[in-house]
Amino acid sequence: MLDFFTIFSKGGIVLWCFQGAGVSESFTGPVNALIRSVILQERGGNNSFTHEALSLKYKLDNEFELIFVVGFQKILTLTYVDKFIDDVQLHFRDRYKNELVQKGALKLLNNTFDFEDRFKKLLREAEETSKARSPAPMRSFKESEKSQKTVKSMIETKGGDKSKEQAGKKNKNTKKEGKQSGCLYFICILFIMMIFTTHSKSPKPQKPKEKANRVWDNAGSSTKNLDYSSKNGEASPGEDQKNLEAQFDPVSSPWSEPSESGGFGGMFGMLKGLVGSKSLSREDMEPVLEKMRDHLIAKNVAADISSQLCESVAKKLEGKVMGTFTTVASTVKQALQDSLVQILQPKRRVDILRDVMEAQSQRRPFVVTFCGVNGVGKSTNLAKISYWLIENGFSVLIAACDTFRAGAVEQLRTHQRRLNSLHPPEKHGGRPVVQLYEKGYGKDAAGIAMEAIAYARNQAFDVVLVDTAGRMQDNAPLMTALAKLIAVNMPDLVLFVGEALVGNEAVDQLVKFNQALADHSMSDKPRLIDGIVLTKFDTIDDKVGAAISMTYITGQPIVFVGTGQTYNDLRSLNARAVVGALMKA
């Protein structure tokens, strides 16, 4: 019933694979999709993934750098898959430990891993255990206890005349048993009697259970123990300490053991932890991960993203063998740093100037749309970006699609005038480098955008920058209007403008914006957010967590970083510097 099962190394070499009967498609595509969306984007918290009609589950083996992936049809609900993967992993490791232990790909290449029979056996066992646990069939009435009891035993003797009446009725009815109506009558009487007996069962002869005083495990028997007024000075610290120790004992027992065996043993224990190959387990990593999670939250990364990140790092490190002289803390920190850099690196090419040139060669304008909530700096950063584009020799048309906020059009007109004075038309072939396309206030934004793009195409402008009104992500009609603007005009780049000061809100904003864009688009490949502009970066010193939250949620790169209010304050993101600031204590 499984579609496929593969075992491959983290370097990409498939060691062994199994394809279910009747499955002809190659599994390379779905597994690659799994790797790219889950493992590489650090969403390794839950280990299942759906791709078209297939559902994939995976398990990482960090000691030997292997990945185990199983795929089955999404509509089937197979309960044995999780345990099955664990079993297969254990068996494979045990059998091929010698080949896998050596680092270096040669051993992997030269061996043919003959795992077929073992695998089939495990699969059969797993399927059988799942079948064995199917629910037992219901017992028939003849097998139940109730059929053994007589009617008389079920009747309570409390209402004696009632029972006599019923018995009398029953006697009368037994004479009529042969007849159909009599049979029906008999069944009715039986039903009534059963109802009576259930009622009469409630005042049982035995005493009802009284309310018993609840006893807590750690509580004493009397309240006298809670009176600490006499033991104020000397005894209470000792008692408190004892209580604390009693609480902390299970947690600190692995640490307290070496110290109890004497200072000598304690030193050896620490040294043994430093040198030698020890494999990481969840319990070792847990305290360090807690600290890292709190550290990330303190640096303004959204709370659930921090926990998802820590979970994914734990999955990546579980079972890994540490080198000599590396502590658990340093390994976890290094892994977390690597995954943060990985998240911030763009997953596609980010080169706006090259794309504008490409659109120029195709004789069409390059359309960029800015969207975001109120007050994040859309219009300011739009002006900065147009300054940058003009400096590189492109002509820009600004479309004022913010028809709601008072002064929005005037603001853009002021920017246009300033930019034109900085780059006078005489120097650029007699025509102004920046023009504003506006239709006043109160009109439909999508219509203005469409007209602006048509105008730009006619007048051969290189770039069209569309400024939209700020809107809260919960405001459904405005989100619909934005989605309509984007779906109708199909811009080349949809930029979400977010400020660096935002905290957990970033997650909500981005999710709802993306959802609105996906829901209201007519095509089956909706235009979602393509890039992020991170503004007001100069107001945070090193609490740069918003960058992580935004890139993690959307998977899209941060294209621009706004660091001030003048035209020159536009930067690009340096992933390493941001992660360095994030991990700094």
């Binding site: 983290k10 790797i35 040669l106 290449l109 998240i343 690196q345």
Partner: protein, 258 residues
């Protein structure tokens, strides 16, 4: 006036030294000599050149690096998936000198490639840049961007390893030839020089890649680079698929010439 304190001081110093035990004096001199010799040794060891014996396999995702790696090492065909870490193995070049290089296969995914390149670029003797010839037309800008990033890296520029651009997947019917790929890449890199130098600086002030490729004023050509560049055609999968051999003779010959 200043002479007198100095003279008096040197006099007192000389007196003190003569009063000391000669053994202690010898001990002090030996200690100083040991310190000096250690410093000299450290300097010698630290500035010794790292031996560069690695051949890196880089390229975009799905260009066939891992399969090429497998073919070069063992000649067999194995299925591959997207790599998420590097794989390395020693490779014996097929020449008379019998030199052994370390063949390293780096992941091509966008988020991983810069990390792994950072790790291995200083030890590179040669870089094998694998290009998917079948879908080259669609990916030409991505290929050029990666190549640009590689060529303008200061460490790579300083070391100037041999660059072998391998046009893989020649078994597919629509594969472009090496000559065409070279021309397209030169044109694209020409444009990239302009756009990349106009790119924004990073938020902490660092400006990436300030090197200018090739010569100013002239169109970019691969012959203008300080390193040796060669364009090759090969097919890792081979014309017969999994049963036959891969068609990698030209690559092996070039690796033998290193």
């Amino acid at each position: 006036m200043t002479d007198n304190p100095l003279e008096a001081y040197s006099e007192s110093l000389r007196q003190q030294l003569e009063e000391q035990d000669p053994v202690v004096l010898v001990g002090v001199i030996v200690a100083l000599a040991v310190v000096v010799i250690t410093c000299v040794f450290l300097k010698y060891f630290l500035t010794s050149k790292t031996v560069r014996s690695a051949v890196l396999l880089v390229g975009l995702c799905d260009s066939g690096k891992t399969l090429l790696f497998i073919r070069l090492l063992s000649g067999k065909f194995k299925r591959t998936q997207t790599s998420i870490t590097d794989s390395s193995a020693p490779y014996k070049a097929k020449n008379d000198r019998n030199c052994t290089w370390t063949l390293i296969d780096l992941p091509g995914h966008d988020s991983l490639r810069s990390q792994y390149l950072e790790k291995f670029k200083s030890a590179a003797k040669a870089i094998v840049f694998v290009v998917d010839s079948a879908i080259f037309q669609k990916e030409v800008r991505d290929v050029a961007e990666f190549l640009y990033m590689l060529l303008t890296d200061p460490v790579v520029y300083r070391i100037a390893p041999t660059l072998l651009v391998v046009c893989n997947k020649q078994d597919v019917a629509m594969a472009k030839s090496a000559k065409l790929i070279q021309q397209q890449l030169e044109k694209e890199l020409n444009t990239l020089r302009v756009t990349r130098s106009a790119a924004l600086s990073a938020q902490d002030g660092s400006v990436g890649g300030s090197l200018y490729l090739g010569k100013k004023g002239k169109d970019f050509e691969f012959s203008q680079l300080p390193m040796k560049v060669e364009f090759l055609e090969c097919s890792a999968r081979g014309s017969k698929g999994k049963d036959g051999d891969g068609d990698i003779e030209s690559l092996e010959k070039s690796l033998a010439k290193l």
